[in-house]
Amino acid sequence: MTPKVSLRGVTKSFGANTVLRDLSLDVAAGEVVSLIGASGSGKTTILRCINLLEQIDDGAVLLDGDEISAIGRDPNPVRRRVGIVFQSFNLFPHMSVTRNITLALTKVLGLDGEAAAQRATELLARFGLAEKADVYPDQLSGGQQQRVAIIRALAMQPEVLLLDEITSALDPELVGEVLDVVRELKGSGITLLIATHEMAFAREISDRVCFLHAGSVAEIGTPSEVFGAPRDERTQQFLRRVRSN
């Protein structure tokens, strides 16, 4: 079966700094894959390359076997199918929660205002934010903001959702409510690619875990393989370091 998302020999540099080196990774439809690895190992960059927020230097990124990284391709149709949620939420501060969600529904998907608002209302209700529909982002807690950001991405009904350390900017007591949203998404058919420092969560939610080292995949396998019996020496070191903290 064609993988949903496929990176083939992807290389990406920022100036002289090569961030991704000949990286290959396949993610099946509906699969949940976590990207773990030290800071600077390239997790964010991978996600941004899949969403075409960054251009790769070599290799190919495929969505359903279709080369979306091809030169000169319009990124907008791809972005409709691949959503991303950022570490720092990036909600639009001058728009209400509902408007944050409906903006792209109306401007990109062409929904009329009523249909868009209805979709927003439904999603907000589903994730326990119904009463926040009309407030502005700065009146929300960090956890609520991040849940709205997830809803904003979900409202586009993407096939793939990229989550970039979505709990790193949160106070510990707010992490749970955001992770609950992700738990609910698993099994809904959406393909999830999660960059995370939350090892326990990665272990719990992932079908497979991918350990990155210096821009390449050092080890990939089921959570019990990677966390339980890591084969690669660098994975072992990394996990030891993380656990001793």
Binding site: N51, L53, P75, N76, P77, R79, R80, G83, I84, F86, S88, N90, L91, F92, P93, H94, L103, A104, K107, V108, L109, D138, R152, A153, M156
Partner: protein, 289 residues
Amino acid sequence: MALELHRRAGHQPRLTSRQEHERRQRRRSSFIAATSTFVVLVAVVVFIPRMPRWDRVKKSFFDVDQMRDSFPRLIDAFWLDVKIFAWTTPAIFIAALLIALARNSRSPALFPVRMLAAAYTDVMRGVPVILWIYLVGFGVPGLGLERPFNSPLLWGSVALGMTYSGYVAEVFRAGIDSVHESQRAAARSLGLSSTQTMRHVVLPQAIRRVVPPLLNDMVSLQKDVALVSLIGPIEILRQAGIDKAKFANFTPYVVAALIFLSVTIPLTRLTDYLWHRERRRTGGTQVAA
């Protein structure tokens, strides 16, 4: 800790000792401010009239009869300032926004547009306003255009608009630059085009942030309108000059200054108020004393 204090204060009406202290401090500050203001006022009222030449100054600058006589003429002339201001301001904002957007374009094909916009703002801001008014206000009508296109009033306003659009474009550009890249990334990641991103996400935030500096520029513009008088139109400054010459008395200038102040001071206060509100709103936590 602070949060807890706050919460406790919300529940009980009785003041904590810290709040007592702050209230005493505030009262003391107001008292000092009031006393010093009083002392300064007394000094002005008592000592200035005792200056040796005060009588002459009073007669040639603060002549009450002269004020009464000039005031209606000056107000009439001021109406022209207001009109010039009213028709240049929207033109300035529109031109400035277009220039700022041109400077912010990223497409390589638009490189010449970016260059031109940059050159325009540099040239406009690099020459004193008054020089532009002379050059354009005398120069263009000198080409021998037909009425009404030979009016110095028209070209003086155009010159004013040209220079100010250079300044205001820079304000807009600073506003656009101040919107964090992550906002663009978020919008683009949802599939919005770069134009949609600019229009719905970047510009609304940018403009909100630059309202205070824009008002600042409007206060300056309001004053610089008087410069157009130097090429002919009888607006307030020129009318004051005429009156001064006729009556050999400087009072009309003082009246003109007061008329300007009656417009610029409220505008300036409004600007300050908006600055503060913006600072509070963007979470700039205020440091205690």
